[in-house]
């Protein structure tokens, strides 16, 4: 499934044209991206939470060469699925 399928579903459910539906879907993800970029989390009930986390600098190894390297501090995005979504995924074909 891609963004095009999400657009198609919006088009079928609303009276908006495909072009409008595409713009609206884009808008939703733009709002989400800006929110996360600002370091804020997004909580979607029944789906999951998108959380921005700060990672400190740490020592790591290049798994191929074994060479020790420093992994710089960074800000990452994690997704924690809701219990509802996890249960739904495990229910089918169980």
């Amino acid at each position: 499934m891609t963004k095009a399928d999400l657009v198609e579903n919006i088009y079928l459910k609303t009276g908006f044209s495909k072009k409008e539906s595409a713009e609206i879907v884009e808008m939703v993800f733009d709002i989400m991206k800006t929110t996360l970029e600002d370091g804020n989390k997004i909580k979607i009930a029944g789906f999951g939470n998108f959380v921005v986390k700060d990672k400190a600098t740490r020592r790591g190894r290049n798994p191929q060469t074994g060479e020790e390297i420093e992994i710089s501090s960074r800000r990452i995005l994690t997704f924690k699925p809701s219990q509802v979504l996890k249960a739904a995924i495990n229910e089918l074909e169980g």
């Binding site: 499934m1 999400l6 609303t14 609206i24 989400m32 789906f47 996890k86």
Partner: protein, 93 residues
């Protein structure tokens, strides 16, 4: 930001959508993604990220309170991989 705040933001960011329409759209997006994952499908949103279902093997764990060994059966779990664009945008501190 909660889902209702996302709906409100969508309503104020443009002048075509009513609150009810924004609600329908936001709900549709997350329902569609959820249903695809339940069906075992992979969902890819360009610029945002991709959702997949990962299989977790059965394992033995311990109840941290009693110390009893508990068998945990194999299960599936949704997994999100942040897309390149969003990963870079988030990492700008």
């Amino acid at each position: 930001m909660t889902k209702s705040e996302l709906i409100e933001q969508l309503t104020t960011d443009n002048d075509v959508l009513s609150k009810r329409e924004s609600e329908l759209i936001v709900n549709s997006i997350f329902e569609s993604i959820g249903q695809a994952l339940v069906g075992g499908d992979r969902v890819e949103i360009r610029g945002f990220g991709s959702f997949t279902v990962r299989e977790r093997d059965a394992r033995e764990a311990r109840n941290p309170k009693s110390g009893d060994v508990v068998k945990i059966s194999a299960k599936k779990t949704p997994f999100f991989k942040t897309g390149k664009e969003l990963r870079e945008r988030v990492n700008v501190a």
